[in-house]
């Protein structure tokens, strides 16, 4: 659930990096406390550190699940097992750590408090800082809360405070064992010389962690797989009393008293039109099926309207009678010979045009007149070949 990792980077003895990873869980603040204790351990004058050592060194302290410090019996067994095989190593480590503490600690703390640009390589240190400040505030808050409670209760506030703190830190020892804050402090001081060097800091952290773990396991085994929760309301439904509000039951303002006299004023027309356009667009959303798409296109006049009518929108054509489209020979009369191959050709042209639904009458007439001009330009050739009659007969043809 949570662990504290302590690393001493030895090649650069001036930096000691602690970092904690508090991932989750109810004991996070407690772990925070440990971290704090660790941090303070860097400072030689820190009392928390001393307390940690003091408590863990008392084997007769049977209240093993005390939250802050004492190790559980099983754990201490564990450490005992480990000790003989690793004594040398531990000793070395401890002295090294002690050295670090005494020689470099002040510089270290100063370094920790510096504001640093965010970057990958600083991440570890930043983490520590974060946790520290967090736990510090948590601790402060706790102490403050205790103080408040003590003053609220009245009487011997100091006494109450220390008792409360004791209870919080050592929930299972009776408050009578430590009568006041001073006593607790005393206890720490006495143990200072005897045991500090015997355990490395890593050791302490481990034992603390193990205490926490064993505590958790003692309190009740954590179910591996959580029970499926019965369907129920997760958020407790706040009791909301529905108060009836009569929306139209109140008094009126009584400003508009002369309803009948009110008149619609001529509105700003363009403004109104634009406003309506906006209203329409506010509910015009991307079409969600093809019919909607067709509707939209119809409204934008890109499509024929229903019902389908072949002559929809052909307003100009409506003015022209069909006979003008069909009977086109009248346009030949002024110029075309009455008979002969030319007449025959032009009549065929007229039949073709009369069947064309895609040209307007004007376009058809234009078409015929184009032939007129064309034949006019080829007159000589036509005469030579006899396609049209000689000069003297021409006027007759025109008639």
């Amino acid at each position: 659930m949570c662990f504290v990792r302590t690393t001493a980077i030895c090649e650069n003895k001036s930096t000691t990096v602690f970092y904690t990873n508090v991932s989750e869980g109810g004991c996070s603040w407690r772990v925070g406390m440990y971290t704090l204790a660790l941090k303070r351990a860097v400072l030689p004058r820190s009392s928390n550190y001393l307390r940690v050592c003091a408590k863990s060194s008392k084997p007769e302290d049977t209240s093993s699940s005390s939250s802050s410090s004492s190790s559980s019996s099983s754990d201490s067994d564990n450490t005992k097992d480990a000790k003989p095989s690793n004594e040398q190593k531990l000793e070395r480590l401890n002295t090294l750590l002690q050295d670090l503490i005494q020689s470099n600690a002040p510089g270290k703390t100063a370094k920790l408090e510096l504001a640093k640009p965010k970057g990958r390589e600083f991440k570890k240190e930043l983490d520590t800082n974060d946790v520290t400040t967090k736990t510090e505030t948590a601790e402060k808050e706790m102490v403050k809360a205790v103080k408040d409670v003590a003053t609220d209760l009245g009487g011997d506030t100091k006494q109450t405070e220390s008792e409360l703190l004791m209870k919080l830190l050592n929930p299972e020892t009776s408050p009578t064992s430590a009568t006041n804050l001073m006593d607790i402090m005393k206890g720490m001081r006495i143990d200072r010389e005897t045991k500090t060097a015997e355990k490395s800091r890593a050791e302490q952290v481990r034992s603390i962690l193990q205490t926490a773990k064993s505590r958790i396991s003692k309190e009740g085994p954590q179910p591996e797989r959580r029970m499926k929760r019965l369907p129920q309301h997760i958020q407790q439904k706040k009791e909301i009393v529905v108060q009836k509000i009569d929306l139209f039951g109140g008094e009126a303002l009584n400003i508009f008293t002369n309803k009948s006299e009110l008149t619609e004023v001529t509105q700003t027309k363009t403004w109104q039109r634009l406003y309506e356009r906006d209203l329409k667009l506010a509910v015009t959303h991307p079409p969600s099926n093809y019919f909607q798409q067709l509707m939209l296109w119809t409204e934008q006049e890109k499509l024929w309207k229903f019902p389908i009518d072949n002559e929809q929108g052909l307003d100009e054509e409506k003015k022209v009678d069909f006979s003008k489209h069909v009977f086109l020979e009248e346009h030949l009369e002024p110029w075309c010979p009455a008979k002969g191959p030319l007449r025959h050709f032009m009549e065929l042209v007229c039949v073709g045009l009369s069947k064309n639904a895609y040209l307007t009458v004007d376009a058809k007439i234009e078409h015929i007149l184009w032939y007129k001009d064309y034949f006019e330009s080829k007159k000589k050739l036509l005469k030579d070949t006899g396609a049209i009659l000689a000069e003297r007969e021409a006027p007759k043809a025109v008639q």
């Binding site: 662990f3 959580r226 958020q235 929306l247 303002l253 509105q267 509910v283 959303h285 229903f306």
Partner: protein
């Protein structure tokens, strides 16, 4: 047996009942006595048939939206993808518009008869063009602001007189649009996806001073009431309140009767004109009084403006009473509130930091089971606000369902507003249902229904869903959620990754369950995806040591030793860049499987890692390795170095 009896009974009753007998006789008798009445022709509009056909189609939540369905391969799933897809379509449309505008000469042929105006290039003018007042009228009709400005200038340069009417129309156009071009009707997608910035942010002066509108206003010698109205409306719309008030006073001095819209827009900005609650309300009352004196009939806009200003006034209980009074007053005038009015009532009653109000319970009966039309621009705010209140204030599922039902009644869905509001609406709906429904039911009826085609949950909502999974222990949904998260592009969210891993890690399935395999697939996929992302990606998410440990555990549950090895290699090689270390459980599990797979060197590497990380279990594990594996000289030496003398 029973059936045949029943049939007999029915058969008998058919014969016995005289009524039916006569009916059958009538059916078969040849003589039709009834007079045939030809029904009167019902006039149908151009889209009525389409509308009727469309009414037979309801939205299929399992299908992508119509605009996306052209190519199934390209159907977008995430919010970003949807937006990008639609915007890409829109930009294609815009490109076409641009080409048509740049090369107008190529598009002037009249292919179709009748000519389709929408396909013709937009008119454009220059100094040489022969311009008349009709041109100006045309561009005003087509809402082409910059063309209208240009046409007006050209006409003025040429000394052409412009009629009062056209000038007024132009002034109104300019006031309405604040001298800027507005989005063409064609670009529906853009309008749908445009993020309507919160109304509060928009409320600053954006009116363009000394613009053409003001120029025209000054040039008019005898401004009429309409001219004043247009100016006041424009200035109020764009929050040039001081000038608007000044013009209002000027018009009052001249004794002009302004339009109701002008009064409405002044009512809307009361908040900016006066300071304290009392003064604001006094001004509101004064304006309404003035309307009454001028015998101007107020309309819905007036009602909504008054409610709007009441809602922004602040003033506690008083404010609520006033809102109701306004409502009552307008009801007396025969003006029914629209959804927008109810929206203002809602925001007046349900303040974020105020006491909880149940006014929505009273509003619902007024609007339920009705089809609403957009009568005011604020109408589109109703649904999203109502659902918000259902969720965050009342936490009332029943009411939420009623609101949801109303939204889907008739064409009410059009009033959802735009994509942004729709998304917020569903966010609230989702949250409300999630917190008040059994999780399985929620997943089946809501999640599977809405996601991903109607609503794509945002990362925050996804985190809540995961939280519910964790609370309910419904790990069977994790696979589905994880694949959704990939589709929705959520895998770069640290909190989501963390909670997925936590859920998997803390809910170990039974040994024979196939979930073990599923879990390991998810874990491996998660790891792979984050690995393959490439280093150049900005904000690349890096798994922490603890998370990698969890991935390892999940893989080892499924006996994926090879994959677990890869994870361990990463842990080992990048020891200095990975934040944190795995839990000892993960590492010892790994050592166990090393032993199982007879991989002494790996086991020792892991032991080395444990020791580097300062775990006290090193010795224990060392002993275990020593006991269960036969080690060669080399490995034995290493082991002794790490864990001390083991023998």
């Amino acid at each position: 047996m029973l059936n045949s009896q029943l049939f007999l009974k029915r058969y008998n009753s058919l014969h016995i009942t005289p009524k039916i007998n006569s009916f059958i006789q009538r059916l078969f008798s040849a003589e039709a006595e009834e007079k045939i009445e030809i029904p009167k022709r019902i006039h149908r509009g151009p889209t009525d048939i389409l509308r009727a056909l469309e009414a037979t189609i309801s939205r299929d939540p399992t299908a992508a939206h119509y605009k996306y369905h052209d190519d199934p391969y390209l159907i977008p799933m995430s919010n970003m993808g949807k937006r990008t897809f639609a915007m890409a379509q829109e930009s294609g449309r815009k490109a076409a518009h641009w080409i048509r505008k740049e090369h107008a000469d190529l598009f002037n042929h009249r292919e179709a008869d009748p000519v389709i105006k929408a396909f013709l290039p937009v008119v454009s003018f220059n100094e040489q063009s022969d311009i008349t007042e009709d041109n100006l009228k045309q561009v005003i009709d087509d809402v082409l602001v910059s063309e209208a400005q240009l046409a007006y200038k050209l006409l003025k340069d040429k000394g052409v007189d412009i009629s009062e009417e056209t000038r007024q129309a132009l002034l109104e156009l300019l006031c309405y649009t604040n001298d800027t071009d507005i989005l063409s009707e064609e670009f529906i997608e853009e309008r749908w996806f445009r993020q309507t910035t919160k109304s509060k942010e928009k409320q600053r002066k954006i009116w363009k001073d000394n613009s053409l509108a003001e120029e025209i206003f000054i040039s008019i010698e005898n401004p009429t009431a309409e001219t004043y109205s247009a100016m006041i409306q424009g200035m109020c719309k764009y929050f040039q309140v001081d000038k608007a008030w000044h013009l209002y006073e000027e018009s009052q001095e001249k004794g002009l009767i302004l339009t109701s819209d002008a009064y409405s827009s002044l009512l809307r900005v009361v908040n900016f004109l006066k300071e304290s609650f009392e003064m604001k309300w006094a001004l509101t009352e004064e304006l309404l009084q003035k309307m009454n004196e001028a015998k101007v009939k107020p309309n819905l806009t007036t009602l909504n403006s008054a409610l709007h200003s009441v809602s922004t006034m602040g003033g506690g209980k008083n404010q609520k009473d006033l809102a109701l009074k306004v409502l009552k007053e307008f009801k007396g005038l025969g003006i029914e509130p629209s959804l927008g009015s109810w929206y203002y009532i809602l925001i007046t009653f349900c303040k974020e930091r105020g006491p909880i109000s149940t006014v929505l319970h009273d509003i619902m009966p007024e609007i339920e089971n009705k089809e609403h039309h957009c009568l005011d621009l604020s109408d589109t705010y109703f649904f999203v606000t109502a659902m918000d209140i259902c969720r965050s204030q009342l936490n009332d599922v029943e009411l939420g369902r009623r609101v949801h039902k109303l939204l889907h009644f008739g064409n009410n869905y059009n009033l959802i507003g735009d994509s942004y509001k729709e998304s917020i609406y569903y966010r609230h709906y989702f949250g409300l249902m999630m917190n008040n429904m059994p999780f399985e039911e929620f997943m089946q009826n809501i999640y599977n229904m809405l996601v991903p085609n109607i609503y794509v949950p945002e990362p925050g909502v996804m985190a809540e869903v995961l939280k519910q999974v964790d609370l309910n222990g419904s790990v069977e949904y994790v696979a589905q959620l994880w694949s959704d998260m990939i589709i929705f592009d959520h895998i770069n969210r640290e909190n989501l990754i963390e909670s997925i891993l936590n859920i998997l890690d803390s809910n170990k399935p039974e040994a024979e369950s196939n979930l073990i395999e599923v879990f390991s697939c998810i874990a491996w996929d998660l790891f792979k995806r984050l690995e393959d992302e490439g280093d150049n990606r900005f904000n690349k998410l890096r798994l922490t040591g603890d998370q990698l440990g969890k991935v390892m555990i999940l893989l080892l549950w499924n006996k994926d030793f090879q994959k677990a090895c890869l994870i361990f290699d990463k842990l080992d090689q990048e020891q200095h860049t990975i934040v944190g270390v795995p839990k000892i459980e993960a590492l010892s599990m790994f050592i166990d499987s090393c032993i199982e797979n007879k991989m002494p060197s790996r086991a020792i590497a892991c032991l080395q890692y444990c020791s580097d990380s300062g775990f006290p279990e090193v010795e224990e594990l060392g002993v275990k390795i020593h006991k269960s594996l036969t080690l060669d000289e080399n490995n034995l030496a290493k082991l002794t170095k790490i864990a001390g003398n083991l023998s």
